[in-house]
Amino acid sequence: MELTKENILILLEEVKDPEIPVLSLVDLGVITGVTISDESHVTVNMTPTFAGCPAMDYMKKDVERTLDKYGITNHTVIMSFDQPWDSNKLSEKGRQHLKEFGLAPPPKYDLILDLDILEHAKCPYCDSENTDLRTPFGPTLCRSMHYCNDCRQMFEQFKPL
């Protein structure tokens, strides 16, 4: 395999969010950069979704393990806030995977969070928009809990941030 940014990103497709195993870190948008030096040293830059997310350290180690597995041992993985994550960084493929997993993907927005955006969630089961925000906190830091008035089920949304 030729050492290019594109090829590294293909390898990193394998690394999934441990709490949402259908979502790769690339689709989640937490891989903010891949650079390869003239001496073939690979640097992967990452940024946390939520600062207190306990899965971030695990994800960083998983990236290191995956690079090692493919024989790329000359690497550095850096976690920083240099390019802070927001939910618009989720890829289209990632959004589709979330929906299939039963988690409403976050709406795309202009990065000015207001109550309307937080309350607006489309039911991942029946696509109804007739839903209510029950609580902005859920089983993990990145999820809020909602109720669908049409199919009458609770569902979770990956929070817009």
């Binding site: 940024t47 600062a51 207190g52 806030f81 902005p136 906190f137 830091l141 929070k159």
Partner: protein
């Protein structure tokens, strides 16, 4: 940029988030309803994550590592406001404290996201979005409960009156205040307080609660300089219990 001024500011931000994060975690398993148990536990996790981000910036400036800083200092070395160290009390007190605190913290983060000190600007740009959820949570409950039953209103009013002097203590200025303002780090505590008052007034006006007269309220200062109530040291002892038995333990 005066490094001492930046460090002083970072310690205040980090210690506030760590101590309130710990208090919030004391609701885990005890929330009045499941959703509130989850909410306070989630905010605990967020806030402790935020303190780690600030302690990491301090480490970049030559301070010792985050765990050592968090677990080995005594109460008089902490720079948090006294508001955050007070015991949780009943749910009404925790809710009022959360409302008064997070409405101030989000303003600080919004200002700092425009800071001339780039490392703080980057971190707070990220964290302000997370705190937005904390503010949404607090404001929603204050609006709902503050105009509901007589008991709810009485309890919240009594907690509000009790917490206000401590809340004013959050805005205690440091000796570096003028320097931080002039160098564009942020607009300073007086500016945070003015904006905070407007925002909490806007919520309180929608309820049957009354904000006590702030002109006749004596703020509880001291926390920023290591003067604390008798409640902080027992909290620190409990928080550091595992670390003190085995500093290499992972949990």
């Amino acid at each position: 940029m005066n490094e001492l001024a930046i460090k002083d500011l970072l310690y205040k931000l980090a210690d506030d988030q760590l101590i309130l994060g710990h208090r919030n975690s004391e609701w885990t398993g005890f929330g009045p309803i499941l959703e509130e148990d989850i909410a306070f536990s989630s905010m605990a996790q967020d806030k402790i994550g935020h303190s780690l981000a600030f302690y990491t910036l301090l480490q970049d400036l030559g301070e010792t590592d985050p765990d050592t800083v968090a677990f080995t200092r005594n109460a008089n070395q902490f720079h948090n406001s006294q508001l955050v160290e007070l015991p949780n009390g009943e749910y009404d007190f925790s809710l009022i404290r959360h409302f008064l605190y997070d409405n101030a913290e989000i303003i600080r983060f919004e200002m700092l996201s425009q800071s001339s000190y780039e490392p703080i600007a980057k971190v707070t740009t990220k964290l302000k979005g997370e705190v937005k959820y904390h503010v949404l949570h607090a404001n929603t409950w204050i609006k709902n409960l503050g105009s509901s039953t007589e008991e709810a209103i009485l309890r919240l009013q009594s907690s509000l009156t009790e917490a206000i002097p401590y809340a004013l203590g959050m805005f205690e200025t440091s000796k570096f205040e003028q320097e931080l303002i002039e160098s564009g780090v942020y607009a300073g505590e007086e500016a945070v307080k003015a904006e905070w008052l407007e925002r909490i007034q806007a919520v309180i006006e929608k309820t049957d609660l009354k904000l006590p007269d702030l002109n006749t309220t004596e703020p509880k200062f001291g926390g920023r300089n290591g003067e604390h109530t008798e409640h902080l040291q027992p909290l620190l002892d409990e928080m550091a219990e595992v670390f003190k038995i085995d500093p290499t333990a992972e949990w």
